[in-house]
Subunit: 638 residues, 2 copies
């Protein structure tokens, strides 16, 4: 047993990357540091870190090519901790690479520290947040797509995966897509430490179970003892040789390796070690080796596609077109204007009209088949080095990827999502294909932008705006053709709205978006004939919403608003409108029209009527509200 | 070519189930009817139906055991159309089995018809809704679990899968779990017709790609020509022989088989045939065979576990306990009281405390590992024949299963979900583990119930209530210990709330739930010392919410409400409160306190403070609102 001071003294004067003794020392340092930081924090996952320490030590010493001073450089290798709970190991690596000092290192999990419980990109060397399992590998697929097919550089993507997370179907989606795309630049390192949070995984140390699965999907597979550094080095060296597809290194490891009190014992998941001093001593004491990563190969410039001027599609006022088609038309135009724009679709590109982009820019279109989780995570991986991904499917099926959208927000990722076939207005296909919760879902994403156009020119303009938006942006499109009511030169903005009907002395304001804008306009016509003047507001920017226009409408109408949306009553446009006024002194009455009951199949008009969101229902609500008289009053004296 | 009248004349006097000629005739009838109903509707998926017609004809004639008069009988085989868009085929089968007549059959996709675009359980022979791909097989896993491990009957589960949907990771989760559990009563029939919606699948007619994948997961695999009825019969016969695990019949089929104009041609997905009369003629004309299903084996009674009296856990007022522990304690008690109660967990049962149920009732506990999609769909499958499943994981990870929860609502399924570790109050693990959108997500599920207890006795009572609730119910639990403020005999109800602090002449009402109830009580103490009297409402039933108590509070406080929630500002408790008053004449001012920015790691108290939802922030908001004076006024005369 060595003391800490003895260990410090062993720090070598020069680093010989090829010396297995260094690999061992480095691995032990990573273990010791994983113990140290989690003990300092009083929480964390040291045993899950210790199993993979040899795998990561060899990676740092001999294989990972990265310029820490230029973390966004496309020549850099990527490193993703799909098992994000092994953050003590990741931060120990950052320390070992000389990126953080020991003082910051020991702020692990403290309030305000960049070294959070699970990795987040507040650290410049963390490209995506992980911690919801099963996401790092599919994100890695996106990074590998970007490197191979977009940047066209020999960058590699290293993904450290846990065995427990192999139970997530998203990992199979990643295995299948990486194999299908022949992503030879993707190297998964599977840390098979046998033990999950509560007990043994389904496959224990049956490495073949993982190897066979990956082989079926077209991967090169290498099994190793995950504590034999020379075998690991040989595996990574082989993984870096030419191949037809991705490589997985399936490593048999021991959870808590190196500390007899916890090694391969159940019950130590997510807990600091019981006797850290003793554990550190057993590991040979503290070390403070610094092994900077190898420099990336910067000989070749990243590939760039040509950019030109933006020529958005133009639709004639009075004609009809579906907003989903405008999405496709605009996206193709955007692709011509900006060579960084990329499109992905979930095997419904003839429904979402992403096929127009595919036809125009086949090199920048990626077919993600019916795998929405992989589609969204691929977009997250693709955006890491500055590409601008748009991903589309039926809006209902974006619910499949909600955890991935949630995590993308934590990743501070810039991704653009398009959901077609919103609401009951899709008609005959029935409720399984109707998005009725997407506005609620996407509004409840931190920093998100939610857009819902009602006509084709507006949709095209909003698509163009999305290219420059940070964070998660979402556009909801409609299956049916809708009348073109805006000219092609009309301008729209995030946070904006349009007053599409106003008489100057309106009794009611109808706030709506998308297909029901046209129902509201029909209702306004009917009501005008009855002497009820209504204002119609097209609130195409559902988040952020146009508070000024809504407040003006409340004031002008004596506080009589009607919201109409092809969506469940919870969390959508009506909720956004209520939020505007919640804490205001002047609060209008808001009649919310939304889909109250489970719809079935039928013609769009039948379903809009049944849901009480068609022109007739809107007119009826307006009559009731008009008859109730003004709803605003001055605040009483207190 | 035969005419329709000739074909009708061929209806045999007696049915010989063992006659391959019958199988062929039946298959052609299913094809003809798929063409007929989709042509009548003007939409639908006939070509996707025609590929699987032989597979289904042989199933009806020789293998499917089902009593249509007793659709919920546990002795019945199950049939799930995982490729729900092949609904024309399913309804053609219902007609061929004599369950619906031709008149109803031709109402396909019409408004008000039970024969919706994708199957829903308005039809008594449809047990679950499908149409979002990749869900039928994992639901089938749940049904097979119920048959084998709960009902303990030789019931089989037949699931027709499409090849396109094999790209969904949820299918791999199902393959893995079925293999792991050795569900020999599960038979997947994979219709490999090569063509998806927009083009060829990743694997085309590479049947081995599917076979090998299933084999890796422990399935018995049989490859067949999906248009060779005798080979199909042999495959099903083999699938019904004893085995160590589930069976998959991988069938090479042709999309649009039987009609040369569309057979194996791209571009005909989801469209009626261009020339239906000609197609029907090519298929040999209309037939109206009726082949009732074989009777199920009812010799043995379904197994039932003992039931007893309900002895809920009791926590002492003034002690502290986490509501997640109360979930586990109460669920175990419920399991003793009701032998139909079943629990599932996503490999975090020591965090959700589902482990208490597992220890008490190991035969009714199912470990779903880290596969939330499979967990929720297993629950859907398990509830079909009357079992009462509760499924738990971290609330954040229920986002992984949102599409499955959405579809469960369309299935009219009764499932109970428990999400632990809600909100920033979990502390050091950071945002990836914090549910901050779950209330919004679960409120926007049709017919859902959303519960959020603040103490252990309340949590236990609510768990007991959930057992009897229809539809989707959700309980949000907290990681931290919280003070027990209710006695063990206090009663709670869905749609209820508790006024936990009131002076009779309160200036402010604070509406909150869960962990922030205790922050509100602390704030109330502080404010009382300053002469500001506040009412504190524990709105533990977030949906449905207690409108009467909220209205009374608005009236009593001069319209001054504060909502507090450990959740994003969108779609949660604050939104539920605003919805109560939106269309009322008396509308309070509502100050919404929620989590405004992306949290990090830290101590729970630090994070509650940073989010502005701790006692100090609540007190500050109350002071501001109190100073603003009463906020209600009578409606002005119109």
């Amino acid at each position: 047993m060595t003391t800490t001071s003895e260990a410090r003294a062993r720090r070598p004067a020069t680093i010989d990357r090829n010396d297995p003794a260094l690999w061992h020392e480095l691995a032990q340092q990573l273990r010791v540091d994983s113990v140290r930081c989690s003990s300092a924090a009083g929480s964390g996952h040291p045993t899950s870190s210790m199993s993979a320490a040899d795998l990561m030590a060899v990676l740092i010493a001999r294989h990972f090519r990265y310029d820490p001073a230029r973390p966004r450089d496309p020549h850099n290798d990527h490193l993703v901790f799909s098992k994000g709970h092994a953050s003590p190991l990741l931060y120990s690596m950052f320390k070992a690479m000389g990126l953080i000092d020991d003082t910051e290192f020991l702020t692990y999990r403290q309030f305000g520290s960049r070294l959070q419980g699970h990795p987040v990109p507040l650290l410049p060397w963390v490209e995506v947040a992980t911690g919801s399992l099963g996401q790092g590998l599919p994100i890695g697929v996106g990074m590998a797509i970007a490197a191979k097919r977009l940047d066209r550089l020999p960058t590699r993507v290293w993904v450290l995966c846990g065995d427990s997370e192999m139970a997530e179907g998203s990992m199979d989606e990643a295995l299948e897509h990486a194999g299908h795309l022949g992503l030879e630049n993707l190297i998964a390192i599977l840390d098979v430490n046998r033990l999950g949070q509560t007990g043994e995984t389904m496959h224990g140390w049956d490495l073949d179970a993982y190897r066979d699965r990956a082989e079926v999907f077209g991967w090169r597979t290498i099994e190793v003892d995950g504590h034999d550094a020379e075998a690991i080095d040989a595996a990574y060296t082989e993984a870096s040789t030419p191949s037809e597809g991705p490589t997985i290194v399936v490593a048999r490891t021991i959870k808590g390796y190196g500390v007899s009190e916890v090694a391969d014992k159940n019950g130590w998941h997510g807990k600091p070690l019981p006797h850290p001093e003793q554990a550190i001593a057993e590991l040979g004491g503290e070390r403070h080796l610094v092994v900077p990563p190898l420099a990336p190969d910067t000989a070749r410039e990243a590939w760039r596609f040509p950019s030109g001027s933006l020529e958005l599609p133009r639709y004639e006022v009075g004609s009809e077109a579906p907003t989903r088609q405008a999405y496709g038309d605009a996206l193709a135009a955007l692709g011509s204007a900006n060579g960084m724009v990329v499109a992905l679709d979930g095997e419904v590109s003839n429904s979402t009209y992403a096929e127009i982009f595919r036809e125009a820019h086949p090199e920048r279109y990626f077919e993600m088949y019916i795998a929405e989780q992989q589609m969204v995570t691929a977009a997250v991986g693709i955006q890491v080095r500055g590409w601008i991904p748009f991903a589309s499917t039926f809006a209902a099926f974006l619910t499949r990827a909600y955890d991935f959208v949630r995590m993308a927000a934590i990743s501070r990722a810039g991704i653009r999502l398009s959901g077609s076939h919103a609401g009951v207005s899709i008609g005959e296909d029935g409720p399984s294909q109707m998005a009725l919760e997407d506005l609620a879902m996407m509004r409840a994403v931190h920093g998100s932008t939610v857009l819902y156009p009602c006509d084709a020119n507006q949709a095209a303009q909003l698509v163009a705006l999305m290219a420059d938006l940070p964070g998660i942006s979402y556009i909801r499109t409609t299956r049916a053709k809708t009348p073109v009511i805006y000219g092609p030169d009309e301008r729209f903005e995030v946070g904006g709205s349009k007053v599409v009907r106003s008489s100057g002395d309106d009794a009611i304001a109808i706030v709506t978006a998308g297909i029901t804008v046209h129902e509201a306009l029909k209702a306004a016509d009917t009501l005008a004939g009855e002497g009820i003047k209504v204002r119609v507001i097209d609130a195409y920017s559902v988040k952020p919403i146009d508070t000024a226009t809504l407040k003006a409408a409340a004031a002008a109408t004596g506080g009589r608003l009607i919201t109409v949306e092809d969506h469940w009553p919870e969390g959508g446009l009506g909720a956004a409108v209520l939020d505007v006024f919640a804490d205001e002194e002047v609060r209008p009455r808001v009649v919310k029209l939304a889909v109250p009951d489970m719809p079935g199949s039928g013609k769009p008009a039948e379903l809009l009527a049944a849901a009480g969101i068609d022109a007739k229902a809107i007119a009826a609500a307006a009559r009731r509200l008009a008859a109730a008289g003004p709803q605003l009053a001055a605040k009483p004296a207190s």
